[in-house]
């Protein structure tokens, strides 16, 4: 959608935002985009959704003074803002007044400069990896204004003397990558979790600003590599929408089918890893066995196993393989009995029930407040499927169920994904016989320029809403490209879910959340 930003006076920004949330029910903060507006200063764009009518709106707030930029916090309204504002502070140096924990989120605490500002020096010689440990302070800062309107910093200790702190990660097999969870324990019980991200922060958004649009496509597959197709779908989607490209029906069909194959692949890996984290190695091997079948089908067309690089602006890289239709049909026929096998081997397992049921509860209100989309949100009864709420491609023409569970515990999160696999197969079966003839690619100019404006487009990824915000000044490369990571809300909600639970359940809850770290860190 093209963004028409509301702008408020900064003095009553907090009350206007509260009005938006409480009176107009914009209770889902989709994302906060920090941006360097050049001469106008530094600022944020808040994208909000009404969870009843699924209407979306956006608010822009700008701090004019670049050296001393500050904005009022919104983390008292939406809990998702806690980490999102830290991200903005990290990359742009905007301080949020009243935010309880204003530290860097991704970069090292001794990092100099703010990378997403336009005047940041990207010279590799100046950005060499330090070979000593991060001198992490054990306090955090809280900023506020005094009577004269000057910025005041207050130090706050992160730990008390009695706290027992265990670092889980960054090198830990059960964090699914290089996430670090600093966990404060009382005996075996978790008191607080501080997530530390950025161990795989590759600066994709900043690199994309100096690359052309077709070049920047290559990054999306490497973000969340388990929903490579959907990530790229969101990026080409936003560019196509901005340029007003009309796609053929064939492209819509192919993209929908590929997205669902990718979802099947991702959920099979979720099932495998979830089983492995809980110690069920047999189920792991079963899931991976069937994942190879899905990969084979995609590989015949795209040429890649994990990273396919298939979509491009205006269509697809190439037409589908001659045997694609047959292969997908065979795959559907193969997968159906397998779902029963998964139920027999793992879903019905008593150990799984004991470790998952009633563990890591998340209420519907908190899921919305943290912005936990995807399976995690749907397990709490929140209807957040982008395919239903903001249909794209063929999703409004096919019949499929949005899987909703209501307990919000780890078991429901697991069940949502298991049931979604069956729905994916159901969608594939409806589409595969009817792929219309036509072009697989609508020819574009050699140099792609996106008209001026700000756009946001989202797809349903494997583990939530993957959104792309694009600010174009009419150049060959984006002025600002921002991805809404699917995993960041899940990580920020971990503290809420796990407070009072046992430390052993952290692994189980982490398995059920199914986050992918390069997607969080970008």
């Amino acid at each position: 959608m093209k963004l028409n930003n509301l702008e408020f006076n900064l003095n009553d920004f907090a009350s206007e935002m509260a009005k938006l949330k409480n009176e107009k029910h914009f209770d889902f903060l989709v994302t906060i985009v920090g941006e360097d507006f050049g001469e106008d200063g530094l600022g944020c764009i808040y994208i909000l959704e009404n969870t009843q009518s699924h209407e979306r709106t956006s608010v822009k707030a700008v701090a004019k003074d670049r050296d001393n930029a500050y904005l009022p916090t919104v983390c008292n309204l939406w809990k998702a803002a806690e980490l999102l504002e830290r991200e903005v502070y990290d990359f742009l140096g905007i301080k949020f007044l009243g935010h309880p924990d204003m530290r860097r989120l991704y970069l090292r605490s001794d990092f100099q400069g703010y990378p997403l500002r336009k005047d940041f020096d990207m010279d590799p010689e100046k950005n060499k990896a330090p070979m000593f440990d991060d001198p992490e302070p054990d306090y955090t800062m809280q900023y506020s204004l005094d009577n004269e309107g000057k910025l005041v910093a207050k130090k706050k200790a992160l730990f008390t003397d009695d706290d027992y702190v265990v670092n889980i990660g960054p090198q830990h097999p059960a964090t699914h990558g290089v996430l670090r969870l600093q966990t404060i324990l009382d005996g075996e019980t978790i008191k607080k979790i501080y997530p530390h991200c950025g161990y795989i922060h590759r600066g994709i958004e900043k690199i994309a600003e100096s690359y052309t649009y077709p070049q920047s496509l290559a990054f999306t597959d490497r973000m969340d590599y388990l929903s490579a197709m959907m990530n790229r779908h969101a990026l080409v989607g936003v560019i196509e929408e901005a340029m007003g490209i009309e796609l053929t029906d064939r492209i819509h069909y192919i993209r929908t089918i590929m997205d669902e194959l990718q979802r099947l692949d991702s959920h099979l890996l979720f099932y495998s890893c979830c089983a492995q984290d809980l110690g069920a190695l047999t189920a792991f091997i079963y899931g991976m066995r069937d994942r190879e079948q899905v990969l084979n089908v995609m590989q015949e067309t795209t040429g890649g196993r994990l990273i396919q690089n298939y979509y491009r602006i205006g269509g697809c890289q190439d037409d589908i393989d001659v045997n694609f239709v047959d292969n997908v049909k065979k795959l559907c026929a193969y997968m159906k009995p397998m779902f029963k096998e998964y139920r027999d081997i793992f879903t019905g397992n008593l150990i799984l029930h004991n470790r998952f049921k009633g563990v890591g509860n998340l209420s519907r209100e908190n899921a919305i407040s943290y912005g936990c989309t995807g399976g995690t949100g749907r397990a709490t009864g929140w209807h957040n499927d982008v395919r239903k709420n903001h249909p794209y491609d063929m999703y409004d023409k096919v019949d499929f169920k949005e899987i909703i569970y209501n307990n919000g515990d780890s078991f429901d999160r697991y069940m949502v994904r298991m049931d979604e696999m069956e729905q994916s197969v159901h969608i594939l079966e409806q589409l595969i016989d009817n792929i219309p003839a036509g072009d697989f690619y609508v020819k574009q100019k050699p140099i792609i320029r996106v008209p001026e404006g700000q756009w946001y487009y989202s797809c349903e990824g494997s583990r939530g809403e993957i959104g792309v915000y694009l600010d174009s000044k009419g150049d060959k490369s984006p002025y600002r490209l921002k991805f809404r990571p699917m995993g960041l809300p899940l990580v920020s909600a971990m503290d809420e879910m796990l407070r009072g639970e046992k430390i052993a359940d952290l692994i189980a809850v982490g398995a059920s959340l199914d986050y992918v770290i390069p997607d969080i860190d970008r």
């Binding site: 990896a129 590759r202 390069p518």
Partner: protein, 204 residues
């Protein structure tokens, strides 16, 4: 007695691509002569070591999923003796760096490497670990892990296919086979900790 050419069972010797570099290593080792007793023991131990390479599960991004795929039923690296993956660096023989290493991760990676016991090996999997790959122009990416740790085998690809990972691991097997274990890989002399240089501003 001599250090033999590194034959492994899985693929015929001639089918490997860079036999020259390994033969060069073998020639260097043979230059000073090889003791019959120690040389035979070396051969036996290297045979065992090369067929039970335990790797540290160190996956930072995409390549890690391919590493998992290699461990599963279709590609099954248990055929070569790689199936034991360790979560502690102290029990691992090699660190398989699957994924991008960022500036924040670099000290962690170095520490993991330092924690491993000799003899230890490093395999760089994928473009990012080799040179920074697609993220070379970033402000937060290490341009190849060879800047941090010595690398034994590079496996190119983005991500490398499982077959490529297996090929790279077989190259490592061969590399292990052309080593002197006694007095060589098992006992690398460290720099003495006693300082013998006289400081410039020292006066008696």
């Amino acid at each position: 007695m001599e250090v033999r050419k590194p034959h492994i069972k899985s693929i015929p010797y001639e089918d490997f691509k860079d036999n020259d570099s390994l033969e060069k290593i073998a020639d260097e080792l043979n230059a000073g002569g090889v003791n019959v007793v120690v040389g035979s023991l070396d051969q036996a131990i290297n045979w065992g070591r090369s067929n039970s390479l335990w790797s540290l599960t160190f996956a930072t991004s995409c390549c890690g999923i391919e590493f998992m795929a290699v461990g599963c039923a279709r590609y099954d690296f248990a055929r070569f003796g790689f199936e034991v993956t360790r979560n502690s660096p102290r029990q691992a023989d090699l660190i398989m760096c699957a994924g991008t290493i960022t500036n924040k991760m670099a000290p962690v990676m170095k520490r993991l490497y330092d924690e491993m016991a000799d003899p230890k090996y490093v395999v760089a999997v994928g473009g990012c670990a080799i040179s920074g790959g697609p993220f070379k122009s970033s402000y937060h990416v290490v341009r190849g892990i060879s800047e941090i740790v010595p690398v034994d085998v590079f496996i190119p690809g983005c991500p490398p296919r499982p077959e490529a990972i297996l090929y790279g691991m077989m190259q490592l097997q061969r590399k292990v086979k052309v080593e002197k274990f006694f007095g060589g890989a098992n006992h690398k002399e460290k720099k003495p900790i006693v300082v013998t240089e006289v400081p410039a501003d020292f006066n008696e």
